[in-house]
């Protein structure tokens, strides 16, 4: 017998309680603290800050804990908190040229002014599970310091070295530091979108999505072969200039990874050939994301470069509308919400269409005396 059950509110509350219980796990095991997450899962923290578009390590650690380690859930929590925050100022453009560099490498030159600085990287590790970590083995030995201090004004490979010869397309810094920059969190995106908007979209875009698209450009779904001109990772200071003050003040440091790619050249009989550029910038140390972003940025410049669009990474609307994991996960998962009203409409139509076909078949059977399935086709 059918009885409409009204348990909605109670069921939801109980589901939330069960979720909280599962998040905590076995109570005999110490509860993880957010400062442990902040320190020891720092790459998760920076990913959540980057895609959550909010630079706050403590909140990111809290979001990771609350999201049970599901980083997209954590990013969602950050975004929902972020929208409620007032904007009290816009920073001045950060100067990555003045970055306090922890790592800086170039793949285009063996040696170069400022040197190759490896810094903390997984790149040359052997991916062998280290069972001593599981057994809470010894604390790692302290890393030795370099003999020479790192160059404070680390030359930029593209601007200071390649551009010296005019070999790479010039990208002058806008004269007006206060020129408006697009912001997709405050204005609806319209297409075609400018590069500022595209870069903002990529920087907060899903790492996996940007990675896959970047990869696709290397496999023929775009034609913009790239070299990593430079990757640098370190801290830069953020400055704001309050109107009533009239000069800039430093409000703190942020960690960034920046990648500049040197891409296939362009030129003609009358114009000197020049390499072109792709750019990636992301919170924290995330070279995978920064390189992928630079690849996709360059691919999305197809129109500007007069290139034929042949791959999804070159299609700005496609990339920008599908890069956001909070949007994607919401819409993909929403199909688990009730749809029975719509489904009822489909059921009714399919039943009606089936009845009509059956009726037609029966009629032709009666007329011909035999059933001829072919005739129905």
């Amino acid at each position: 017998m059918y009885v409409a059950v009204k348990g909605g509110e109670r069921a939801i509350n109980n589901a939330h309680k069960l979720l909280a219980e599962q998040r905590r796990g076995d109570k005999d095991i110490a509860e993880i603290e957010t400062d442990q997450i902040e320190q020891q899962l720092s790459l998760s923290v920076t990913r959540v800050m980057a895609e959550g578009s909010l630079y706050d390590r403590d909140l990111a650690a809290l979001a990771i804990k609350q999201g049970r380690g599901d980083l997209i859930e954590a990013i969602f929590l950050m975004r929902a908190y972020r929208t409620t925050l007032p904007r009290f100022a816009f920073s001045k453009p950060i100067k990555t040229a003045e970055m306090d560099v922890s790592r800086r490498i170039s793949a285009t030159f063996k040696d170069l002014p400022g040197g190759q600085i490896l810094g903390p990287t997984f790149d040359y590790t052997h991916r062998l599970l280290d069972f001593t970590l599981m057994a809470n083995g010894e604390a790692p030995t302290e890393a030795p310091s370099g003999e020479q201090p790192v160059d404070e004004n680390m030359p930029r490979v593209l601007d200071d070295i390649l551009n010296y010869e005019g070999l790479i397309q010039d990208e002058p810094v806008p004269v007006d530091e206060n020129a408006p920059v697009a912001d997709l969190t405050r204005e609806p995106v319209k297409f075609p979108a400018g590069r500022d908007l595209r870069l903002q979209n990529l920087s907060r875009g899903d790492e996996g999505f940007v990675l896959a698209l970047g990869y696709s450009t290397q496999r023929g779904y775009a034609n913009s072969h790239a070299f990593v001109g430079e990757i640098r990772y370190g801290t830069v200071s953020v400055e704001i200039e309050p109107e009533e003050l009239g000069f800039a003040i430093d409000i703190g440091d942020i960690e960034l990874t920046e990648c500049e790619t040197v891409n296939k050249f362009k030129g003609s009989k009358t114009k000197l050939p020049q390499f072109t550029r792709g750019y990636g910038l992301v919170f924290g140390q995330n070279e995978r994301k920064a390189i992928s972003m630079a690849l996709v940025d360059r691919a999305m410049r197809a129109n500007e470069m007069g290139e034929q669009i042949m791959g999804p990474a070159q299609d700005s609307q496609f990339v920008m509308e599908h890069s956001d994991n909070v949007q994607s996960t919401g819409f993909v998962e929403h199909i688990k919400l009730p749809h029975y009203v719509d489904f009822q409409g489909e059921l009714e139509l399919v039943r009606r269409m089936r009845a009509e076909v059956e009726e037609r078949l029966a009629k032709s059977e009666a007329e011909n005396g035999t059933s001829q399935p072919e005739a129905a086709e």
């Binding site: 909605g8 509110e9 929208t83 609307q317 949007q327 819409f331 929403h334 919400l337 009822q344 139509l349």
Partner: protein, 308 residues
């Protein structure tokens, strides 16, 4: 049936009234005014990230947050019902952040937020119906490029849509769209009515209430001012028609409402019941009975009995 309830006034002290800050509300209201001025036209707006997922009604929630005031009474339905999980969640959200009165009664609500249905009861001039919209662009599945679809709307170039409907008839003998059935608004814009069943399309025409549509993920708002002409697309020889049922509502015996099919067992037994729970309850209160009604008013059964 739950009557209108007042909600405690100290719901979410850390957040502004109805969650959104006033600047954001102004931005949304400006978009709404433009939408009302150009019925059926999709106005881009800077949709915010909300504390519920995209696809769960963030557009409708933002529109409701922008128009709601302390004296409003809010009703939220999903699939026509007040007690579906997401409707409960959104109603609780506004009970907490706006502390407004909430109700399950269509007649007592000043704002009704809905997903997938229009209430059976005729709405009045002093009511606002807010729709949650997943894909606002009716041409999207015919043309994925936004730059193209904007042009098509601007030039009133809707041939592609008619070709699609014609192809349906050629292939299936019917226009094979049962929900989100495209409508022509005020003889100008083709509009997606949101995924309501086409059964509800005629209710949109000449409706006394203001109808507002919010698509959060796609960042679009559109509107139908009261008494706007809304016509479902069709052909002279294939006129638009709505779903019909051979059955009646098992609980209240209604034959004029949209029915949901309820599977009773694995032997093919099923019954039909009104999708609009308020409509059904009101009819039962008035003494109407369907064949499966055992004088158990809808909604009062506890879970133990349900299991029997």
């Amino acid at each position: 049936m739950e009557q209108t309830v007042k909600n405690p006034a100290d719901g979410a002290p850390d957040y502004n009234f109805a969650y959104l800050d006033e600047q954001t509300k102004r931005m949304i209201r400006r978009a709404l005014l433009k939408a009302v001025a150009i019925p059926g036209y999709q106005v881009p707006f800077a949709g915010r990230e909300m504390p519920m997922p995209y696809g769960w009604g963030t557009g409708g929630v933002q529109v409701t947050a922008a128009v709601i005031g302390p004296n409003d009474t809010l009703k939220v339905i999903d699939q026509g019902a007040d007690d579906t999980t997401n409707a409960v969640s959104i109603r609780q959200f506004f009970a907490k952040t706006a502390q407004v009165a909430t109700t399950e009664k269509t007649a007592e609500a000043s704002i009704i937020q809905t997903r997938h249905r229009i209430p059976e009861k005729e709405l009045r001039e002093d009511q606002v119906l807010v729709y949650q919209v997943p894909i606002p662009e009716p041409l999207r599945f015919l043309e994925p490029r936004e730059t193209e679809t904007r042009k098509m709307h601007a030039l009133e170039e809707y041939g592609l849509m008619h070709v699609k409907l014609y192809e349906d008839i050629a292939r299936h003998g019917h226009i094979a769209t049962t929900y989100a059935y495209p409508v022509m608004v005020d003889d100008r814009y083709v509009m997606d009515p949101s995924p309501t069943p086409k059964f509800d399309n005629p209710k949109m025409n000449d409706m006394a209430a203001l109808q507002l549509f919010g698509a959060g993920r796609e960042k679009r708002i559109y509107a139908l001012p009261p008494y706007t002409k809304v016509k479902s697309l069709d052909f002279e020889d294939h006129p638009f028609e709505v779903q019909t049922w051979e059955d009646e509502c098992g609980m209240c015996g209604a034959r004029d409402s949209y029915l949901d099919e309820v599977i009773l067992d694995d032997q093919g037994n099923r019954m039909f019941v009104c999708s609009d729970t308020d409509y059904c309850a009101e009819r039962q209160d008035a003494g109407h009975r369907g064949p499966q009604h055992h004088d158990q008013p809808l909604g009062t059964a506890d879970r133990g009995k349900a299991a029997e």
